[in-house]
Symmetry: C2
Subunit: 347 residues, 2 copies
């Protein structure tokens, strides 16, 4: 099996290195032969080639069996709204070109981190949510631009029945293997794309009579996630709403540094932390690499069907936490200094 | 002064009745002459006239000095994505017709409710955020529709420089009277409307050298609000992001039932709870009327300049809570049954 390592920008570099090490360890332990290649994306790709997603990277992605991805982004572009070439274009193009329409974001709290969150432990305990964020449509990919001499900006959100149906089916299928509850999040009281979304989910529901379906407006969902996270099992939503809600939901897991995601679709799957490039902490050795480690676990499970290997990683993370080790983002006042790990050691 | 009462749908009716009573009490106490009129909007207006915002209501709104508003919405339409006439159209049309471009949503925790939230008290303590949500632009008001025989839906988000500037100025001005921090929330790494938004805020910043400006992506903001609410002072954002973030932020105040909002702009101001019509609890007498009561306080302060009268209402709410009275949404296991008030009594 060939795995492409695409660290990208900022802490993407340091955490993906750790994710890769864990894959090597697992291969050794279970006697697998993984080969690795590496490629550029984002700001580092712009610096090297002028292109946030060089053709070479895309070709290597297509040729690989799975991609372990880091993060993209750089403050330089964030502060310059008129920049024409941006790191995020590489990420978005990758998603579109590889047809990665389903972004799975499992939000699960490790018992040991029950106290690490800003939310009360009694509210959190037992939370276990699986988000399906649609990843190749919506306002991310519609036409956008300026008119009136640049004085008016617009972005078009768009969804087709086909796009909604394929992600909804994935979510329904997943709900079947879990607590059989599906919450579809939209803003159907205002948006036409949401009304189509709701229509399609309603039409599919009778095919999954064992799954209990609920529709929730995105504003309510943003509130409910914090108020009562345990009421959610599988959540399916559009690209933009999924972006916002899953970042918010990271607080349910104690820290964004703990959350992995899988982007799947028509071909090669891409596995990445949900956190960003975090340039403010880059190179300090304090980034939590566990999101990348858990991304490696998702990769083994979903792309390679290696469930035992995947579970071994999750168990190792659990043990590390049980033994009291923490990176700064999940440490608290009671964590002794000598249990606070740097990025490499945490991996 | 003439106040128009527009209760709308669901619990809008019961809570607005209480808000009005409080206005009457204040007028009596301070020797003001307020006259009241009433008008229909939303589902009740559709039932009565076929129109979610009858012309008569709009005329009365224009003729009044301020509007005390309830909520709109009905499950009937939520479950029927193809309905052509919807209660929310009344709300949106009102906002547009009255030019209510600035929606102020103060998120402040009453000390007594420190324990009512799902967020830890030590994270919340001292939180005090003022949201400026843009209310007449964005994807709410752009063209929307279907193509390809109804199989593709689209919504256009749009912002002009002028629209961004006027709301941003209001937020800058407010920051000056507070802790002098402004956080502008956007998704400038993906959306063109957000890039224009960021550009305009950046261009205005030098005019407000005493205000510290920060730009944050909406996904990060959704996370940060829960992780560290105290880092925010004034937040300014687009219509859709404001809708989502303020509902989420309601958890900072313990309950959505505590949050009032002011919609202001070119003419008459409209004051309303941020909660919705909540048909699941309508008529049970358990709705928390304090959001409407606090909306009345905002009305007196902002539209009539009656600061003392407004503060009197806030102090009365504070006393009610200090005396231990609660509606169900803000009660907890330790609240004795006889301290749990019904909607009318709470007012
Ligand atoms: C970097 C950005 C474009 C991206 C997104 O919004 O999709 C990120 O926030 C994510 O969630 O993967
Ligand atoms: C009812 C709905 C259209 C409305 C909105 O999204 O603006 C509501 O959620 C609000 O926040 O006032």
């Amino acid at each position: 099996k060939n795995i492409l390592i695409v660290p990208g920008d900022g802490i993407g570099q340091e955490v993906t290195e750790v994710g890769k090490k864990v894959l090597e360890k697992i291969a050794e332990k279970f006697g697998h032969e993984f080969t690795y290649d590496e490629a550029l994306i984002g700001h580092v790709a712009i610096e090297a080639t002028g292109n946030p997603l060089p053709d070479e990277t895309l070709e290597k992605m297509r040729a690989s069996d799975a991609v372990l991805f880091g993060a993209v982004g750089h403050p330089k572009y964030d502060n310059d709204p008129s920049a024409k070439v941006r790191p995020e274009q590489g990420l978005l193009k990758m998603r579109k070109e590889l047809g990665l329409y389903a972004n799975l974001r499992p939000i699960k709290l490790f018992d040991e981190l029950l106290e690490a969150s800003s939310i009360k432990p009694e509210i959190l305990k037992g939370s276990d949510i699986l988000f399906f964020r649609e990843l190749t449509g919506d306002i991310y990919f519609g036409e956008k631009g300026r008119k009136n001499d640049g004085d008016t900006a617009y972005d078009i959100a768009e969804y087709s029945r086909f796009e909604v149906e394929r992600i909804a089916r994935k979510a329904f299928d997943a709900a079947r293997t879990r607590r059989k509850k599906l919450c579809s999040v939209d803003k159907a009281n205002v948006l036409e794309t949401s009304r189509l979304w709701r229509e399609v989910v309603q039409q599919l529901a009778p095919e999954y009579p064992d799954v209990e379906v609920e529709h929730m407006f995105v504003d309510s969902a943003a509130m409910m996630l914090i108020k009562d996270p345990r009421r959610f099992d599988v959540v399916v939503t559009a690209n933009l709403f999924g972006d916002i809600l899953t970042d918010e939901a990271s607080q349910i897991a104690g820290s964004m540094g703990m959350l992995a995601s899988a982007s799947i679709g028509d071909s090669t799957g891409v596995y990445e932390p949900i956190h960003g490039s975090a340039h403010d902490i880059t190179g300090k050795g304090i980034a939590n690499p566990l999101a990348s480690v858990l991304s490696a676990a998702l990769l083994l499970d979903i792309s390679f069907g290696l469930k035992e290997e995947s579970d071994t990683i999750i168990a190792a993370v659990d043990k590390l936490l049980k033994d009291g080790f923490r990176t700064r983002d999940i440490a608290d006042a009671s964590t002794p200094e000598n249990m606070i790990l740097n990025t490499q050691a945490a991996g």
